[in-house]
Symmetry: C2
Subunit: 386 residues, 2 copies
């Protein structure tokens, strides 16, 4: 849970050192040449130190880069966003090569001429999609990064996860329905990383949340944790399937229309949730999907669209970045960085390090990604390519 | 088909005359006191001639009033829009009574003081929902009617169907996506009354339509008729389920994105159609539902919402009337009245008439509605309550 975050020590690289065939100090990138199962296709490659940055560009050193589920799908080749081959590494490999990772926190190590608003030591996050963040260092165009304010209480781990989940939660709550203080929002998958951020951001804005989660043995504990984050009510999907919940919700809301529901599950759970939506014209009730954890389609009665004016739509933070100006991006990142959001449970894992060979580091990253794919990790994995 | 409209002679009231118990001349209303199967609950009641209209009101005589599928649902009590009891008739009955019908063409017979813009002999259509149009005559508030221009080629039958279907088709094409000349639109149930109007209005605006219909023995004939109305392409739902259609559509459109699809069917047919939608930001591809003839839900892959920015929404002409000004309503009715739209196949049926008793007319309307419910009619039934 978010309420208490923890940092586990990285697995010691010593375990890999036995396989070492050569010892050298180098910057490294975690790359793949073709799509496939990440533990099979990922490898580490060394590259020489960066040259001094050209005008309008900066050199950065990555501090922490999350391994998100979407990153795995990109490597598998099943995600709609495709990275471009890395031009600087290509010359060192046989054919095109792609660097893994979409999000990460980096520190500016050098600035080119004509660079304004950024200095050595500043924190940045990349905003160009699929820029390849599982890497030690990089030269980046100023247009592809946003400065991260050193907000009070914002730790490296929180800053590293700033590009995707907090903006998603923020935009889900702001971009579709004009919520007024005291308004209610529904969401399923409410204990997901985004779901927990939705609860916190809604609470901060004076909006109230009704949260739906899978039933589980420690449901009572989860309710306490969600309420600790600011949730007003937490129910199971079984509760949601029961028509008796209508009276409970009506009592809770005083019969006020609920015009926004957030979906990352789809399937029957979401059909049931959509029936709770309504709004007074000109507001239209919105069901906004940003995931489909059930892997089932979204099935809704047509009558909801015709007679209740339901709008079912989607949100994808990558598209938001593509369709907004750099100023808007900076404003959004700065906003969520300053909200004091609790950092989700995570595990920092360092790969590489002084003296390790590319073969050893390849083995390390393959092991790490296998653990991620198998769900054998203690929260979100934050990679440090040393 | 619309291409050639025909008017069948009304069933002779003589057939009913044998049951006549009394002979009198009266205005009549087709009413029901409680929801139920229309052939069981409908009856005819006579009422005295209207008084002179009060200020701001008009007296009208109905010329033709359609029996729409929604009217049947309203009487059954399964439609979301509920009529109000008819105050003027209530005093003549035991308890509240409702007059059937939502749409119809009427002629002004008298105008009260303070009535501007309407004179005796003008055509009007009611725009207040569920105003009760299966009636001989009525006193109406000026705010509840819109004048129908005597457009060239606009016959009574066409004017009687002006409130629901043509505005629906017009709004479906105009209210959701900003179509440019040469843009493509998809629709299923394309040979429905609204579907045929969509084809004609799209054609008139320079937009192109790809139309989907059920397979049938005389499919070739239907294609010819649809093309006669202006359809660019007509396919069956079986074609749509076949991935091979993608190349055909791509050839047809030259790969141009299709950003609007209209749905009155739902079910898998519509899931298949939605996959053909795409758009360049800031346009969002829209799937707009106005019916669900398959009686199946609308089931869509969540990925279409997230990655293709699909918006699934609904349209209901009744809501449009509720949320727009009288000027906007007049403008819309005038627009579609002047478009030279072909009048759908229909059958004019007269009930009542000089000398018939309420019992006889009740029997007549019950027979008519039974035929409508059983689908045993030659097109849309237009009622004349003589």
């Amino acid at each position: 849970m978010l309420a208490t975050f923890r940092v586990r020590a990285a697995r010691s690289p010593a375990a890999y050192r036995a396989f070492s065939t050569s010892v050298r100090r180098a910057d490294r990138a975690i790359v793949y040449a073709k799509n496939g199962e990440p533990p099979s296709v990922l490898r580490a490659v060394s590259y020489p130190p960066l040259e001094a940055p050209k005008p309008g560009t900066i050199n950065v050193k990555y501090i922490l880069s999350p391994i998100n589920p979407a990153d795995i799908n990109v490597i598998e080749g099943v995600y709609p966003a495709k990275p471009s081959p890395d031009a600087s590494l290509q010359s060192r490999m046989d054919g095109p090569v792609f660097v893994g990772g979409n999000e990460g926190l980096a520190q500016v190590t050098a600035v080119g001429s004509d660079v304004k608003g950024l200095s050595e030591g500043d924190w940045i996050v990349p905003i160009a999609p699929q820029s390849g963040t599982w890497i030690t260092s990089r030269n980046l165009a100023l247009s592809d990064v946003v400065r991260v304010p050193r907000a009070e209480g914002l730790i490296e781990a929180g800053a590293a996860m700033l590009t995707v989940n907090p903006p998603t939660a923020y935009n889900l709550l702001h971009d579709f329905v004009d919520l007024k203080p005291g308004d209610w929002v529904l969401q399923n998958g409410a204990n997901s990383a985004v779901g927990q951020l939705v609860v916190q951001i809604a609470k901060a804005q004076g909006w109230r949340t009704i949260n739906f989660v899978r039933d589980r043995k420690d449901f009572g504990k989860l309710v306490d944790e969600m309420k600790g984050l600011g949730a007003d009510a937490v129910f199971t999907y079984d509760d949601l399937a029961d028509k008796g919940l209508r009276d409970t919700v009506k009592e809770l809301t005083g019969g006020k229309p609920i015009s926004l529901a957030l979906n990352c599950v789809s399937g029957p759970v979401t059909s049931n949730m959509a029936r709770y939506l309504s709004a007074k014209p000109p507001t239209k009730p919105h069901l906004v999907s940003y995931g489909a954890m059930s892997k089932q389609p979204l099935s809704l009665p047509t009558s909801l669209f015709i007679f209740k004016d339901l709008v079912s739509c989607g949100f994808w933070q990558s598209r938001w970045y593509k369709t907004h100006s750099k100023e808007e991006k900076e404003e959004l990142i700065s906003k969520v960085a300053n909200m004091g959001l609790k950092v989700p449970k995570h595990e920092i894992i360092e790969v590489g390090g002084e003296g390790a060979s590319d073969e050893e580091v390849s083995q390390q990253i393959q092991d790490v990604v296998r653990r991620v794919v198998e769900g054998n990790v203690g929260g979100k994995v934050l990679l440090k390519v040393a």
